[in-house]
């Protein structure tokens, strides 16, 4: 009996270690795979040139990725600027001020929104946001736009990220013990003061990680953005012009135009870039979380 338990213990321990290692190795394997595939590109260009150059003419063998990186960053930043305040206030309201009834209605709605496939957000973007941008928003800012633009991409992306970040933030705020809020109130804080001084403060690490995961998700989101962002190599910084984020580049072109030499490698490099940037975003936010938790 004793012997059998020891064996079971050994096997389960071994099994757990193996699965852990596999999971840990996953990004490394993907990264190495992409690197090997992208390798031919590095023979003619330095990594720095690839990243910083804006000259994208594959047929001439010129691969400058900056417009795509910038496009991704641009769309992501826009979406974050729209989504973050909305999520923060909505989550605070739902967890601290709303009636039970509103909460009961909202939670399922948020879950449904979070579960919608992104192509639906894309279609909605084409039907609603694109015309809105070209007919109303662009004229307000005194420019003209086809509507397929960085701005539209940002809005669609933010709408996609809202339920995702909102869900996380609600969870974060709900983990703040009621007793803590009661403590602040009993010391004479108003409702809002107790939220500001205690609930939000206590939630800093959680808020940051929700934002970080939201940004990482936005950065990698492909289909919905691709449908409204215009997909032409960005040439200006006007948000009402079209852009071409990294994921869209890969998704649009992989499997096509493979006759162009090095194109294959270029797309692999784009994927590698995406992977590295998303890892970097994660690391940066993890560092912030670590720092705020220590305080």
């Amino acid at each position: 009996m004793h012997f059998r338990r020891r064996i079971v213990d050994k096997i389960s321990g071994f099994w757990m270690v193996t699965t852990m290692v596999t999971i840990l190795l996953m990004p490394v394997i993907i990264g190495v795979g992409l690197y090997i595939k992208a390798q031919p590109l590095f023979e003619h260009n330095s990594v720095w040139d690839l990243i910083s150059s804006s000259d994208w003419s594959p047929s001439k063998g010129k691969f400058g990725f900056w417009p795509f990186i910038a496009g991704s960053l641009y769309v992501t930043i826009f979406s974050f600027l729209f989504a973050a305040p909305i999520c923060l206030f909505a989550a605070i309201h739902l967890t601290q001020f709303s009636s039970k009834r509103l909460v009961q209605i909202m939670y399922p709605v948020i879950d449904v929104l979070a579960g919608l496939p992104s192509v639906i957000y894309g279609v909605w973007g084409i039907l609603v946001i694109v015309p809105l941008v070209s007919n109303f928003l662009a004229p307000i800012f005194n420019t003209s736009s086809s509507g397929y633009s960085i701005f539209a991409g940002g809005i669609v992306l933010s709408v996609m990220c809202i339920p995702y970040m909102l869900n996380m933030l609600i969870e974060v705020f709900n983990t703040v013990p009621v007793g803590l809020k009661e403590a602040a109130l009993s010391l004479g804080a108003t409702q809002w003061e107790s939220v500001k001084h205690v609930v939000i403060r206590k939630s800093y690490p959680g808020i940051i990680s929700a934002f970080g995961l939201g940004i990482a998700k936005a950065f990698g989101e492909t289909i919905a953005v691709m449908m409204v962002v215009g997909n032409s190599v960005m040439s200006s910084h006007n948000p009402f012009d079209a852009g071409y984020p990294l994921p869209a580049l890969i998704a649009n072109n992989y499997g096509e135009m493979m006759s162009i030499p090095m194109y294959d490698s270029a797309l692999m490099f784009a994927a590698l870039l995406l992977l590295v940037i998303i890892l970097a975003i994660n690391l940066v936010f993890r560092y912030f979380i670590h720092k705020t938790q220590k305080q």
Binding site: L187, A189, E193, H197, R201
Partner: protein
């Protein structure tokens, strides 16, 4: 002479005269009822809490002790599903139907909960929090009050060299004393203590208990406890609740020696 003046005199007296304070209840609860949907949590509560004494609330789990305390500083407002009716007079102000703003009412009552909940800031800021909310901004005054209140709960010597470290770095017992100190810093009239020692080790519990004995010279203490010995040690009055009602109350020695109701007898038997 106003109520306010009477209080100051009491405060300066070395030992409070029991008879005098019995004649002036600081809290008067009148026909208090609390409902949530069809659950009647508190049923027709009528109660007077004498000033500068320790009143102990006893009763089985779920009988409504915490709810009663929360009514007294209107933390019941947080739970919109609770319907609270009746009157609670605290120094003549009917706090359930008053125009006084609620933070001011709450500052008349220090809350000490079952577990310590230090605010997610430094030790110093925990104590300073309520003082600042009162509108006091003078640094020296705040410093003075922080030191005084930390001394009052016997925590000063332990923390004076690390006032700026997070309050959560203290031990649970120290945290509970910190919570008491920050409550005292807003100069409440009443301390509401909901099983304040249930999460503490015997020594920290003892410190809190001794604190209460000292504090009752200046404060009225309402204490919920499940520890009968603690009730015996501390209580000037005992209120026994059962299923949302007050069914017995009186001096501890009479009540514990001569329980009138079956419920209290059972409670005492099981508690020992």
């Amino acid at each position: 002479m106003s109520v306010e003046n009477l209080d100051t005199i009491n405060w300066n007296m070395p030992e409070t005269d029991t008879i005098a304070s019995e004649s002036s209840p600081i809290v008067r609860i009148n026909e208090l009822n609390v409902h949530v949907k069809d659950h009647h949590i508190l049923k027709n509560i009528n109660l007077e809490i004498p000033k500068n004494q320790i009143t102990v609330l006893l009763g089985a789990s779920g009988c409504g002790k915490t709810t009663l305390l929360k009514c007294m500083n209107r933390l019941t407002d947080l739970y919109k599903e609770l319907k609270v009716t009746g009157n609670i007079f605290i120094e003549e102000d009917d706090i359930l139907n008053t125009s006084t703003n609620i933070p001011t009412i709450r500052q008349k009552m220090g809350l000490l909960s079952q577990r310590p909940y230090p605010l997610p800031v430094s030790i110093y800021k925990n104590v300073a929090y309520g003082i600042k909310l009162k509108g006091i901004r003078v640094k020296n005054l705040i410093d003075y009050s922080v030191e005084k209140n930390l001394k009052e709960v016997g925590l000063w010597d332990e923390v004076k060299n690390r006032l700026n470290s997070p309050a959560t770095s203290l031990s649970i017992g120290q945290q509970q004393r910190l919570c008491l100190a920050r409550g005292l810093a807003v100069k409440p009239r009443i301390i509401l203590a909901d099983e304040p020692t249930s999460a503490l080790d015997p020594i920290s519990s003892k410190i809190i208990e001794n604190q209460f004995k000292v504090l009752k010279k200046h404060y009225t203490i309402i204490l919920v406890t499940h520890v009968l010995r603690q009730a015996v040690r501390l209580a000037d009055n005992v209120v026994f609740m059962h299923d949302g009602r007050i069914i017995e109350q009186g001096k501890p020695d009479e009540l514990f020696k001569n329980p009138q109701t079956e419920e209290l007898k059972n409670y005492l038997v099981e508690g020992n």
